[in-house]
Amino acid sequence: MTMKDGYMGYRSSPDAQTREPVSEDAIDRAIDETIRRYFMRHEPPARAYARVLGAAQRPSAPRRDGSAVRSWVVGIASATAALLLVNVALHALGVVSAQVAPDANSRTSLFLLWLSSTSLARWVNESETIVGYSGILFLHTLGLAVTVGASVVVDLRMLGVASRISVGALLPLFRYMWLGFAVNALSGAMLFAADAPRKAANPLFELKLALIAIGVAVMALMERRLLQAQSGVPLAASQPRLNALAIASLVIWAAAIAAGRLVAYTF
């Protein structure tokens, strides 16, 4: 017997009473009946109807496939951003552990040295062909153009440009953003491995990573809000917040690009 057999099944099957004492349907019916009886006696104020309707609509925010993974990405990204920002702040204050005590950071340094000596890192560095360092750098640039380019389109639309595009129509663009981000995470990891100790010592590099983490979090927040809008939660209420997110996205991506470019020119 399954839960779907409902009230009658619960009554007619004796062994169900031990394993499934009350089916979900039976509980629902009991609740409905109680509410019906109560409402017949008391006419509730209009406010109560509004509250019940609101509560019924809120949990219907859709959960698309992969949203759990995305929440993890956002969570990890935010935590990384927080850590890196603290680190950048320490750098800005002049507290560089390597300066204070050269040995204090030796375990990290060893890891970075090992990373840059792996055969992958050596191949990235020494390969003379187009699939080596320069090719990976090209993929990194292309991924940047796709992710930030699609973000710019979404941000501009949020700020009122190209208003003939319905807000729901923007959702497919997020696939391109996540694809570009995946390409850049991979190619970025390879480029980092090729030059780990120097990159890690550059505070601008940490700032760039922190900005990217925040940028990705903003991107995910926008996607979630648009998904909710698609399922019927009105957008108008959160329009100021969406505008703020759009402006934040533009500023953060521009800053991340600037930091990334400066990394290439500060060492």
Binding site: T141, R164, L171, A254, Y265
Partner: protein, 163 residues
Amino acid sequence: MHAFALWVKGTDLSWLVTHHGWVWATCEALHFIGMSILFGCVGALDVRMLGLWKSPPVAGVNALVKWGVLGFLINLVTGVLFFVGEPLQYVDNPAFRFKMLFLFLAGWNVLLFYVTGVADQVESLEPEDDTPFSAKVFAGTSLLLWVGVIFFGRMLPYLGTSF
């Protein structure tokens, strides 16, 4: 060509661009920001016409193109500043020549798209409408050429000796 490059190198503007480190670095950042705006806005119209993003009307996406032009202008100005700053590292660079060729072809592609009337033809298309084959050819060519421009731009230090 070399005489021209040498003359450019002798100008005050060239000195300004290369003498202060921050000018070059700022232009680099702006060049990449402009690239993202251009590639995003033009690429959006391309994927709409290719049928990879059918949910908006074509006219809606077309409204983004003027923002793409803004990105192009940012890159034109910063790009000219790079050339003025270090003309000698570009004139003989094969990657630079290919980049200019692809840029020229991309411009030609845009011109043909509007002159042949294909742009007007697709302007009235609503969401989920399919574009004619000619529009798909223009869109595919555009994407290919802009990716080519980015590729040869990135190869400037590797196929040649620019930084």
